[in-house]
Symmetry: C2
Subunit: 425 residues, 2 copies
């Protein structure tokens, strides 16, 4: 990969820029698909699936039957089932700890406020088709939905891979449909005769799926987050193992030609060593052509100081950040922008992708500056509640009266005054 020695800070912005996604053209394709599903429901889904995915669902129907889902288990090796169950257990452990107890706060005598977490009633999970059957994503989205207690969990996928069905059953998905693309997003956003409308849609997808999610989010269906191509940044020093670093870069690069890979170091020697092993590792990969394209666009950046490296990494705001450096945990304290951080030589990104317990649905495209990855929080709303007693309104009421009057909102004031008056005499 290309080594960029000591770039000036003024060049960082251009150096770290992600490829621009042009959405206007894709919106032009996706908008009529949404409209067709909204107005004609199931019939449109069957037509679009025939036309776009070349799959005839007119006999089979949209829904995957419980029998089909049950049958998946027998098609998987015991080894794979055990691995999926172990990943399920780890993800569950980590997300369980995100549950927050209700804490009642008395802000003034008789004025008590709290928050309660309530599951989003109906959620949708999208799992793309394509070469990699992402059953791991079924776990990542299904486990927090299950922990939150979402009543309806709808899964749409054009893939019928048995591991997807097995994982769906494990996490308690309530309905599975064999549809994909922008039309699947539309179906979950608007609902059809067969497919329940949901309030929030999660999951990865190509540009059509992502654009569909952004468009329905403007109309009121929540989405997990806007998604771009996957990314990793690795910060390595001379304590890093070049062969491990190269393997981590390649595990990101194999996702696709548009994957983003950045390597940062203060050590010229480390960068050279990584480059040396990278080529030989890549040549042995089944997805070497995809990976080679991603590596071509990737950058190995040599910086002067540790402070420069941290600033550059925080400016980049990587989805995945691997810290293969001495004192990785204390370096992590300096990181303010990242989706998920991997510490030291024995924490590859792929551990988090599958089974360490953290969620792999993370903010890409620099969104880590403002967005968190998916967590239990993503499947609940936090409703605030307040209870004011007669004593309490005597304390807080006059404060409200003064402020409401200063904001010229007289009726706001009177809603308090009428209560205070009733308590007098």
């Amino acid at each position: 990969m290309q080594i960029i020695p000591f770039p000036a800070r003024s060049d960082w912005h251009g150096l770290l820029a992600r490829p621009m996604q042009s959405s206007a053209q894709i919106e032009g394709i996706v908008t009529p698909i949404l409209e067709q599903v909204r107005t004609r429901g199931d019939a449109a889904l069957i037509e679009l699936t025939a036309r776009l995915d070349k799959v005839d669902l007119s006999a089979k129907g949209l829904a995957v039957s419980p029998d089909e889902i049950d049958a998946a288990e027998a098609q998987l090796s015991d080894e794979l089932k055990a691995a999926i169950r172990q990943a399920y257990r780890n993800i569950r452990l980590f997300h369980e700890a995100q549950q927050q107890p209700v804490q009642k706060i008395e802000t003034m005598p008789g004025v008590t406020c709290w928050r309660k977490s309530v599951a989003i009633d109906k959620v949708g999970i999208y799992i793309p088709g394509g070469t990699a059957p992402l059953f791991s994503t079924v776990l990542m989205l299904g486990v927090p939905a299950q922990l939150a207690g979402c009543r309806e969990v709808v899964l749409c996928s054009p893939s019928n891979h048995p591991a997807i069905y097995f994982a769906a059953k494990l996490v308690g998905v309530t309905k599975v449909f064999r549809i994909g693309g922008a039309q699947a997003i539309a179906a979950m956003a608007y609902g059809t005769d067969t497919i329940p409308q949901v309030f929030k849609i999660f999951g990865p997808g190509n540009q059509y799926v992502t654009t569909a999610k952004v468009l329905v989010s403007k109309e009121g269906t929540a989405i997990d987050m806007p998604a771009g191509p996957s990314e990793v940044a690795v910060y390595a020093d001379d304590t890093a193992v070049p062969a491990f670093v190269a393997a981590d870069l390649l595990s990101q690069a194999e996702h696709g030609a548009d994957s983003q890979v950045i390597l940062v170091s203060t050590s010229k020697k480390l960068l050279a060593s990584v480059n040396l092993v990278l080529d030989s590792q890549m040549s042995r990969l089944p997805r070497r052509e995809l990976a080679a394209k991603a590596i071509e666009n990737s950058k190995a950046i040599l910086v002067d100081t540790h402070a420069d490296a941290v600033d550059l990494l925080n400016q980049y705001a990587a989805e995945h950040l691997i810290l293969s450096v001495a004192n990785a945990e204390s370096v992590a304290d300096e990181i303010t922008n990242a989706g998920s951080i991997f510490l030291g030589n024995y924490t590859p990104e792929s551990a988090g992708d599958y089974a360490s317990g953290t969620n792999h649905t993370l903010p890409t495209n620099g969104f880590a500056r403002a967005y968190s990855g998916v967590s239990l929080d993503s499947f609940v709303k936090k409703i605030t509640v307040q209870n004011i007693t007669k004593e309490g309104i005597k304390h807080v009421g006059p404060v409200v009266e003064v402020m409401a009057e200063a904001e010229s909102l007289e009726a706001h004031k009177r809603a308090v005054s009428i209560r205070l008056a009733s308590l007098e005499g």
Copy 2:
């Protein structure tokens, strides 16, 4: 207000529908404004402010000076300053309790995962102009930004009300600019020579501001939430005080003709009594014309049973929900969709609008089905971190290898295998 007796469930959807917002026309106006600010920065801001707001900033400049902000304190009554300080204290108390300690979870021996909360580095707060100077919103957005530790907190407002400046100083806003409208949102999203680019924008506004927020959010600037007209639903039984209920309905209605007000009861008598006092209370309000229009579009819905009332309220998903009923706290447990809940006869919505401690930036337009109101969470990202030891990779590694292979992601597998191999022999 119009009493609707025992509507059929099939009619609820239409009955509870919010007025449609047509955004296409407004997007056509807002898009060129964003574009001008993006390409021409400060010059465009000065031109747009002159043209749209009829304010000449060419001499004064965009920034409000620290002297101007300091001078605000002397222009406010001691009573108002004390009230603002008390509200600040209550809001701070409630939001402080939302801080979450770091919890390290060992999902397998040697595999440790945790989340750390990190402030969003730069945030923007928008406060509209207009008749009501919303200094309360400066507190509601500024307090959690301050608690989170956001380094840069930019406030844009076309209002120069001293209470806004006083509140801004109290919460530690770092920069204040005298601009409004879609152009202010653009300035914070893109940055100009004078105005810092921020990563997330908060605050209410008219349809132009809201549309600008939605448009910049598609480009990567996060926003608090999509916003519609403010709403209240009141559920009242014969233990409610009709005059209090009427006052609460009016405090919502005075926000504007498009405010949404819904009253639900199983008691015909209560509905009639509320209607009786509503008119006389309204006639004495300064903003009675606005309120009357909102009340005209509002609905008093008579339902058969408590279960019907709860179902209807959950379907509506009100921004504010007042439960003026016996056993209000246990009824609140049945509520799954609402922004904020107010319990009993002495908890008016206006207490939460100003000073109880809860946040008043809440999901409107039914978004409470999937969105929470603003909280400390809104100003931080939660970054996951994982640390795997040599022992840990021996435990989790084989799980990752099996799953990665089943997903046909060979490089993901090898990033683990190469580490496991290094630990053998």
